[in-house]
């Protein structure tokens, strides 16, 4: 077994870490405070080459492996969950379905612009009444001549309503024979008449990331906007989520790593009872537990990436990695606040943001409960 990362993977980590430390860290608190999505910062992440990392060079991508991409998300999340969210949602959920299921024409039409950071693409699955149970979708797509006519709405859609949002892959019900629903995925560009995207405000976490409600009111798109086959929509969305779980796992891992580093540093600086609090066994053991969980999480996640990259089945491990990384992000961020004492509750201290940002991770892209359903099916329950 070889646990060493390749030279390329190490360089990617170094570069993304430097970028995150120098370009994101100084403004992350302000973007969070103002609940502001930054087009400018997104463009700079694009210039660095983060968008479309795993897409082949033919479509303007980076031609890198999945682990390289996961390392990049991890390094962003180590500094700021919001920017990591923009990247993970765009690459896995936005670009993913177009890249894996698009026709050559669709790929050439959209991917080059999506790999630069100039434009973002979103993934519209969740609806007000269909969250964990995505088959509860009510949004419909009806064929009218050569066109598709879409009606309904989506909620909580990342990257859906930024100034640079180009379009969305929408899952809609294309046939319903007495409860036997057929799902189809359709490409909808943001400037299509009948389509409205509205930014959602008042979030606890990921405040520097764009989250939106999408409305479809007799929204008409040409037949060639069909992604994949008619009736294949559910399959496409679920496969996309398998990949997405790796990047959400990376967000959990990076968030835990960042919170742990802040806590370790603080514990060596903060003195009580005449010595640094890191010298108290109660605190040292917390840090030891945090470091151990992070190590476990990283090994599990990287293994899932390796399975995916080598063409083996990985959906069980992806669900385990998503579950474990996001759960330990919660535990580690919580203990990191504890180690900061009262200061950990103040916005002046970065760890406060980590404590909030981790909370989405056990909910988005399949809640922890849903991951356990997936895992339990895989193990034959």
């Amino acid at each position: 077994m070889d646990f060493n990362l390749s030279e390329v993977q190490n360089l990617i980590r170094q570069t993304v870490r430097d970028f995150a430390e120098n370009e994101i860290r100084p403004i992350a608190a302000k973007l969070d405070e103002e609940e502001k999505f930054s087009v400018e910062l997104t463009k700079r992440m694009g210039d660095l080459g983060l968008f479309g990392m795993h897409v082949s060079e033919e479509y303007g991508g980076g031609g890198m492996d999945i682990l390289s991409y996961v390392i990049a998300v991890e390094e962003l999340a180590r500094i700021d969950g919001s920017q990591a969210a923009t990247l993970a949602a765009h690459n896995s959920l936005g670009i993913g379905p177009l890249y894996y299921y698009g026709t050559e024409e669709q790929k050439h039409k959209y991917l080059p612009r999506l790999c630069t950071g100039e434009y973002l693409w979103s993934f519209g699955l969740t609806e007000p009444n269909a969250g964990s149970d995505s088959r509860g979708s009510k949004t419909t797509a009806v064929k009218d001549g050569n066109d598709w006519v879409i009606n309904g709405s989506k909620i909580f859609i990342t990257n859906g309503s930024a100034d640079i949002s180009l379009g969305c892959t929408v899952q809609a019900v294309s046939a319903d024979n007495g409860g036997d629903k057929k799902f189809t995925t359709i490409i909808v560009e943001n400037d299509t008449p009948g389509f409205t995207a509205k930014t959602m405000h008042g979030k606890l976490m990921w405040r520097g990331s764009n989250t939106s409600e999408l409305y479809f009111d007799n929204c008409r798109v040409p037949g060639e906007n069909l992604l994949g086959e008619i009736g294949e929509g559910s399959h496409i969305m679920l496969k996309t989520l398998d990949n997405g779980r790796l990047s959400i796992g990376a967000m959990g891992l990076g968030c835990a790593q960042g919170a742990y580093e802040l806590a370790l540093k603080y514990s060596k600086e903060r003195k009580q009872f005449g010595k640094p609090i890191s010298k108290f066994q109660a605190i040292a053991f917390k840090l030891a537990d945090m470091a151990t969980k992070i190590e476990l999480a990283r090994n599990l996640l990287y293994k899932a990436c390796w399975l995916c990259q080598t063409g083996q089945k990985f959906s069980k491990e992806a669900a385990m990695a998503k579950l474990y990384c996001s759960e330990i992000a919660k535990e580690v961020a919580d203990e990191a606040v504890q180690i900061h004492g009262g200061y950990g509750l103040m916005k002046e201290f970065e760890v406060e943001r980590f404590y909030r940002d981790q909370r989405l991770l056990q909910i988005g892209e399949g809640t922890s409960e849903i991951q356990k359903i997936v895992i339990s099916r895989h193990i034959g329950c």
């Binding site: 030279e7 390329v8 360089l11 990617i12 170094q14 570069t15 660095l48 080459g49 990049a72």
Partner: protein
């Protein structure tokens, strides 16, 4: 124009350094090595020179196999090719300079960039030694550089000001912070660097003229003293600065 950049591969400044059991080297266990920060500035200046004048940027490093990581980083930033002058043993600054000078001669480089200092041994000397061995002009600790044909106009930081120097190619420039803002190795550059070649050869043989007898950590800093919080503390502060710290 042939442009050479010399780079060292050094412990990340964020790592905690532990002296090895032989008391002569650092314990490399768990230490991450990176491209020397001043050499990033040197690479950037070499790339800017190439972008303005055309030419080829060759990255050269003396050291063990691991130094290839730093060469690769420079290639990812945009340099064209690399040379590793292999040596697994300890080599002093003169030895490093000798090996570099020989390679630079073979490359027939017109301009050679160094960092002003390597943050491992901090001798701040390899660039100047190499220039002397080659008979090249040398500008050390440069914070501004202009090239016009053969003519070089450079600025150096000196005590309390800046010195403007004119000289000509061929030349060695050692680079200081402020000369430029090094670019990130963009991810596409990292992928492209995989396809660039790093030539390996043995470093020119050299006897060390310096022997490291012992390495130890500096004594821990004494805690600071707060003399007072308002203007009434000034006389005491002045007395301490004069008599204890002896700085005024």
């Amino acid at each position: 124009m042939k442009i050479v950049v010399c780079v060292s591969h050094v412990p990340d400044t964020a790592t905690k350094i532990v002296v090895g059991s032989d008391n002569k080297t650092i314990d490399a266990n768990g230490v991450t090595y990176v491209l020397n920060p001043y050499d990033e500035i040197a690479v950037e200046e070499a790339l800017k020179t190439k972008e303005a004048q055309g030419g080829d940027v060759v990255v050269v490093s003396v050291g063990p196999d691991n130094n290839k990581e730093s060469i690769r980083k420079a290639l990812a930033m945009g340099a064209d090719s690399g040379v590793l002058l292999k040596d697994d043993n300890y080599r002093d600054s003169v030895g490093v300079a000798k090996a570099l000078a020989e390679e630079i001669k073979a490359q027939d480089a017109q301009i050679v960039f160094f960092g002003k200092q390597s943050v491992d041994y901090d001798n701040s000397i390899v660039g100047q030694l190499t220039a002397e061995m080659l008979g090249y002009n040398c500008v050390s600790v440069a914070v501004d550089l202009k090239l016009d044909g053969e003519k070089i106009t450079a600025e150096r930081e000196i005590e309390g000001g800046r010195e403007v120097i004119e000289t000509s190619l061929p030349a060695v420039i050692t680079c200081q912070k402020g000369l430029n803002e090094p670019r990130y190795a963009a991810l596409k550059g990292i992928m492209a660097a995989k396809r660039k070649t790093i030539e390996e050869k043995d470093a020119a043989v050299s006897e060390n003229s310096v022997e490291i007898l012992e390495m130890k950590k500096p004594a821990p800093k004494e805690p600071g003293k707060i003399v007072g919080t308002d203007s009434s503390a000034v006389p005491e502060l002045v007395r301490l600065l004069k008599e204890e710290a002896k700085v005024i």
